[in-house]
């Protein structure tokens, strides 16, 4: 591929041929998987990834082109932010050569879906307090514990799991990152129903799950730096569009259509809301573009993805409330089958999650303040205690 514009032309041709005028929302799940593989096999997906692991080794400007061209077809593909943007990116940073060649090409092609096993009932914002145990047993680890808020666990094949491998070290020094096969015996996945009525998240119970000893990513008891990098990738993927999709979505065209349908396009309040939605959404695109350019130029970024994550959550709320403003009464009571009104209400019920999942807005602000702006850190009295003592209520 000679340049971004040739890439753009090829993408357009591919989308026109494969999806055309179809409503991407109506593409059935099995067809989505096929489309993802076909896009990858055509050499058009994840082109900024190294060629050795299934990418094309191209520059950040190609990702921008992809985001621009693919945005309107996003729902015709299985979501890749977690598998590729977070899990594969973390493997690329910390995996052994054997792990990278074994896993990454399949992740990029869409042959395997991955998720993260991080939060626990007692470890939300404070992930350093995870208590799920992994204990050595011959050439395996035996994992026991409970994870929660796991997105896409039922669809995923593998997970990167943060587990405690040493109770006697301080909390951040006794955890490891394991690759867990979610089809293995002892894995019990139970959907969690959210306020939208959907179940995007799950509880995952791990009961004597056996994991090969070489399935550790990074060092044993060195899981914290892996997690830190993983969260960095997560915020970049959710906000900077490193894999295409963001946590929010470009609601502007739909909101304009909604305003037109309700005959409210001339309403001053509606116009102000529409302009603000456009501005905030476009600013996030521009910020993401600058982040990708800096990353591509090899500049040290630090956890700036947290800035984007805060903005993403705010943008989701802004769009959701604009929809309700436009719909008015029709957004709170609608005819069965009025999908537009139903979706407007769904966006409203969806936005609170965006300021919590992937790290709360408050935690993101702490990260920005402490690790981007260099301000003093919050006091952490349990930091240097052996985990056994700091979490005595959970580990006995």
């Amino acid at each position: 591929m000679t340049g971004p514009e040739e890439y753009r032309a090829r993408l357009r041709a591919w989308f026109a041929a494969e999806i055309g005028d179809r409503d991407p929302d109506t593409v059935p799940p099995e067809e989505r998987v096929r489309l993802a593989r076909s896009l990858h096999d055509a050499g058009l997906a994840f082109v900024t990834w190294p060629a050795a692991y299934g990418g094309q080794g191209l520059g950040a400007d190609f990702q921008t082109v992809f985001n621009e061209e693919a945005a309107r077809y996003a729902t015709a593909f299985p979501p890749a932010a977690v598998t590729v943007g977070i899990c594969a990116a973390t493997l690329l940073d910390f995996g052994t050569e054997a792990q990278k060649t074994r896993w990454i090409p399949a992740m990029l092609r869409g042959d395997a879906a991955w998720t993260q096993l991080l939060s626990e009932p007692g470890a939300g914002s404070d992930l350093g307090s995870v208590a799920t145990r992994a204990e050595p047993d011959g050439d395996h680890w035996v994992v026991n514990g409970q994870k929660v808020w796991t997105s896409g666990a039922r669809e995923a094949d593998y997970a990167l799991a943060l587990v405690r491998t040493d109770l006697d070290r301080p909390k951040y020094e006794g955890v490891s990152m394991l690759v867990v096969d979610l089809r293995a015996p002892g894995v019990d996945i139970r959907p969690l129903r959210e306020m939208t009525g959907e179940a995007l998240f799950n509880e995952v119970f791990l009961d004597g799950v056996r994991v090969p000893r070489d399935a550790v990513v990074g060092e044993v008891n060195g899981g914290w730096p892996v997690l830190t990098r993983m969260l960095h990738h997560e915020r970049m993927a959710l906000s900077a569009g490193t894999t295409g999709g963001r946590m929010d979505r470009d609601a502007f065209p739909e909101l304009v259509a909604l305003a037109r349908a309700h005959g409210r396009l001339a309403d001053a309040g509606v116009r102000a809301a529409l302009a603000e939605v456009y501005i905030q959404t476009r600013l996030l695109d521009l910020l993401g573009r600058r982040m990708r350019a800096a990353a591509q130029a090899g500049r040290h970024l630090g956890p700036v993805g947290s800035i984007g994550k805060i903005a993403t959550a705010r943008s989701a709320r802004l769009s959701a409330e604009a929809g309700m403003l436009i719909a008015g009464l029709a957004g709170q009571a609608w005819e069965p089958g009025d999908t537009r009104a139903a979706d407007t209400a769904r966006q409203l019920l969806f936005f609170p999650m965006t300021g919590i999942a992937g790290g709360t807005t408050e935690i993101q602000k702490n990260i920005v303040a402490e690790r981007v702006l260099g301000l003093p850190r919050e006091p952490r009295p349990d930091r240097d205690l052996p985990f056994r003592l700091s979490a005595v209520d959970r580990v006995g």
Binding site: N366, L373, L375
Partner: protein
Amino acid sequence: MTAVFVPEVLDAHREDLAATVRTLVERQSPPERLRAAIASPDGFDRDLWTVMAEQVGLAGLLVAERYGGAGGDLLDVVVVQRELGRGPVPSPYLSSAVFAATLLREIGDAAACDRFLPGIAAGTTIAAVAAADWDVAPGPVAATPAGAGWRLTGERSPVPDAMAADLLLVPVAGPDGLSVFAVDPADPSVTRTPLEVLDLTRRQARVAFAGTPATLVGPPGGAGPAYAASRRATVVALVAEQVGGGEALMGMSLAYARTRHQFGRPIGGFQAVKHKLAEMALDVERMASVLVPLATEPADDTLLHLAKAYCGEAYFRLAAENIQIHGGIGFTWEHASHLYFRRAKSTEFLFGSPEFHRGQLLRHLGV
């Protein structure tokens, strides 16, 4: 260009230009000289202007080389204005080197270019454009033919940098379109009355014309597109100034939050203050993200209106939060906070309010 927190990726030439202007501002516009400049009759530091023009070539940055300029582009201007905005440096740069120079270049009237551009490029002619809003409304300035030339009657207000100007370019909206006239502001028929200004770093005046001799620049009624292009460049430069100011405020607030102690620890360790600063970083990063696309993708009018709508408001939020973080010292005359605070609100309204630009944005999006 300044690294904010997401590092800026610029070519070596622009990195050098940014560093040069930044050093110049740090060395030649320290707080005491800035205060003296603001209090001076001109409202800016003439010695500094001379250095900017003669040693760094800023006055002629956008002027073609054959007129003694550097033949630079809008990205160069953005780099410069970002640094001048950090100061903030009071100077006629925006009026003369950006607005007037671009207007003359875009009209392309050979006689006017020959006559005015060398002086503008050298900094010896300070030019101002008699406009501060987005649109040039018809009247109250009227142009009438008089012999080989024209005469202007009426008044325009406010006009930035009018008092310092050696040359006034007056856009006049007529039934046949927009015309631009060159006027010598020293002519006895011109009355310039200084206005009280919110932004102490940018002087403005009311300019009255009483049968003032004027030279038509370009064809009568044919300057509309040229005027729009120069106005665009001016707004882009103004946004860069806002971004630079926002970055300066971020730096000022951070430095204070790290060093000011209360209750035995830096105030920046309190979560309420940390979160305020994180919000400021969010604004500053988003402001900075518009600059390079704005300067390099000139066809995109939605981005121009977006940037002008957003950056003015964000700059003012930063300026208000900066005062809050500084506490009592923050609202004193001696502290620099209010210079940015004043400038932020002033630039929010120069060349169109956020509300106006939101309307234009939707119009360009076909809504």
